[in-house]
Amino acid sequence: MSTSVFKPGERQLSDPGSGPTENYLNAGFSAKSWLLTVDHKRIAILYLISLTFFFLIGGLFALLIRLELLTPAGDLMQSETYNKMFTMHGIIMVFFFLIPAVPAVFGNFLIPLMIGAKDLAFPRLNLLSWYLYIGGGLLAILAIAFGGVDTGWTFYTPYSSTYSNSNVILAALGAFIAGFSSILTGLNFIVTIHKMRAPGMTWFRLPLMVWGHYATSIIQILGTPVVAITIVLVALERLFSIGIFNPKLGGDPILFQHLFWFYSHPAVYIMILPSMGVMSEVITCFSRKKIFGYDFIAFSSLAIAVLGFLVWGHHMYTSGQSIYTSMVFSILTFLVAIPSAIKVFNWTATLYKGSVSYSAPMLYAIGFLGLFTIGGLTGVFLATLAVDVHVHDTYFVVAHFHYIMVGGAIMGYMAALHFWWPKMTGRLYPEGWARFSALVIFVGFHLTFFPQFIVGYMGMPRRYHVYPEEFQILNVFSTAGATILGIGYLIPLVYFLWSLKYGPRSSANPWNAKGLEWEQAGSPPETFNFRDTPVVMEGAYEYEPKIWLK
């Protein structure tokens, strides 16, 4: 039994090699048709372009940081400049790239397509989210242009609220405004997923990508307001000397850390959960198999979203909080590690007896598995109280979260970009180059960040402009790796742009993937996604064809 089996509601798409003639991309070419669009797919493209821009700026700062750290002495720039470099790198990457990345581009583009809807529940709100994001981003850029910020992306008080002489308010305001974009996007997704599923698309037929975004959205709407309020409090203290965090004004500096991490720990899951969703889509498609343990993966996302709110104190083991408080946070942190482990095991098991292809998206997904495993396991080191006291605020932590955020979240983002590129643009990218860049990124990544675990355990503190000589050799490895990594990211930039014009046209379903976006919509899809509302008769990832009975 091969090829397609008739299913009610399925529409056979036009011949491969030509999408529907009328699609969301050629529906209008004017700037206005883009800047005032309410089409979730066009908004996704707007995000894709702006995120790429911020990623390049953040990457440039990273490169300068690594160059400076090539030698122990501070010979490339002043300490003040260096401190601004890592601050701007962190702020741009976290608030303007990683947090929005997968949801804003792929969540936006795919959630309506995946659940069989014409658009998100609130299309105008969706456009507003993009404008808020851009507004926040411009303020951050303005802060850089006026001389930068030097507080670290964590904005710890009382340094940020009183002592720093840099553009704290401007940068914080940028993050504040971008936060609203995040809240509105989360709200939009939740309502859409609840209310706009096509007939037959029950909760447990949803692609896991949708579950991942659902969990993420919960965190976005519950957590982001807290960090927004915290930013306002810092601004109040800074502008009007109202004592909140500075003890000289009667405030409590540790309070800030509680408020900040109450959001920012869950925020690390905002960055990773959507990529985890991507993993489930890519791995099933390229092993042509149903996901192993659907329920376990879906519920582990929710478990992470809920438990993630109860572990913020693991950033404060050395802050002076009570020993018993730290113990409670420690054990809860260990518990969050379990759902992440469950996911990794289930993805690996999905490959078992599959039909595994090594297409570029799959290589990125396998890269994710490799890097996220190491990132997660080193998270367990940090959850361990005695070990964290030693490595807290050293390069060990830096390595840990880069393994998760660059190794995990960005690998997921790259996997998604390659997987859905034909869907989004109607073009195929050069497969050979794509595989090559996946390899370059994987190698460059390890070379950059693995040495940082060692240098961290040896005691090198993070955010150090000058450092003792014995740490140099490992830093040289890191800088060499970063160069390779940088090249690894530039190659895709080139071939994606190339493919827009010269890439071969894609069929509606170039990977033979399951899912409404592949089976029932063109590449690129038309403006309202589906000509008629799809009717869903089966769960996600039914790669093994069944004769239509029942």
Partner: protein, 313 residues
């Protein structure tokens, strides 16, 4: 590189080897799981690689037993690590009663060290081996963090309050002292060294420095200069309560609550006297905010501590 390449700093405190042991255990567990995952991925990816475009593998939805196995085994492992790590943490943050006290004040961007015997150091801390040392620390400005990798311990140094840490050095030598909490422009230069000496060398070092006045003596002078003694006279009907024997004891407050008179309480009583009023007294004590440095506060506290010792005899 003249030195051997090392993977961890010197083990110079009693804590160091305990931390390294649990770390190495975690490394072993991680290597095992990473190898397992990598091996399985490699195995499956090669063994089940797509052989033809029409391959359609059999569906496998999942297996409850397997899910339980790979949830419960990691769960047990992390619970073991939790208890192990928490035990060491508890010990590492609970100073023994016989610890020798040294005071630390951090400020942008240097460390002031004050020994009870009066010696002062900047960005250097001399300690003997075999003797538990307790640091009582505060900051004059932003948050810093006192970090000695060779001792495997650190503690944030927070303005407006005292934090404590302790260690027992076991190996003479010079070790890095780092500020681990980002504190502004010269954060990476807020470094120094801890010099660990044998007890005999340490005695020589103490004797060799310029003659210095013990902290409590300086503290007593400050107590007079600031006219504290005009109210705290130890006589009945004095305006302020007697401070003899107060340190470390429980103090009854107006309203019926009571607090232990520790360093933080003394500090607050001097800088913000209205916050807690001692039972039976009027809130007449003025604030001394701005008139006395962090080091001065520590000296007065040392003086009050010495009064407590006398008072208890």
């Amino acid at each position: 590189m003249d030195k051997d390449f090392v993977l961890w700093p010197e083990q110079a405190s009693t804590l160091a080897s305990r931390v390294d042991n649990i770390y190495l255990f975690l490394v072993a567990v991680s290597v095992f799981f990473t190898a397992l995952i990598f091996f399985l991925i490699y195995l499956f990816a090669v063994k089940y690689r797509r052989k033809s475009e029409d391959d359609v593998p059999k569906e496998i939805s999942g297996l409850l037993q397997l899910e339980l196995v790979w949830s419960i085994i990691p769960l047990i492992l992390v619970l073991i690590v939790f208890v192990w790590g928490a035990t060491i943490y508890f010990d590492s943050y609970t100073p023994p009663a016989d610890a020798m006290e040294i005071y630390v004040v951090g400020k942008q961007w240097m460390w002031h060290i004050q020994h009870p015997t009066g010696e002062r150091e900047i960005n250097e801390l001399h300690v003997p081996t075999g003797q538990a040392v307790k640091l009582t620390m505060t900051s004059e400005d932003v948050i810093h963090s006192f970090y000695v990798p060779a001792f495997r311990t650190k503690k944030d140094v927070v303005p407006g309050r005292y934090s404590t840490m302790w260690f027992k050095a076991i190996k003479p030598g010079e070790y890095h002292l780092f500020c681990a909490e980002y504190c502004g422009t010269k954060h990476s230069e807020m470094i120094g060294k801890v010099v660990v000496m044998t007890p005999a060398d340490y005695q020589n070092w103490l004797a060799g420095g310029p003659a210095s006045e013990p902290m409590e003596v300086t503290g007593e002078k400050k107590f007079q200069q600031l006219a504290c003694h005009t109210c705290h006279t130890d006589k009945p009907n004095a305006r302020g309560p007697s401070l003899v024997g107060v340190f470390g004891e429980s103090v009854l407050l107006k309203g019926g609550r009571s607090v232990i008179a520790d360093e933080d309480y003394i500090r607050e009583s001097i800088l913000n006297p209205k916050a807690k009023i001692t039972a039976g007294y009027q809130p007449v004590m003025p604030t001394f905010k701005g008139q006395i440095s962090e080091v001065g506060l520590l000296q007065i506290t040392a003086y009050l501590k010495s009064l407590a010792k006398e008072g208890n005899q």
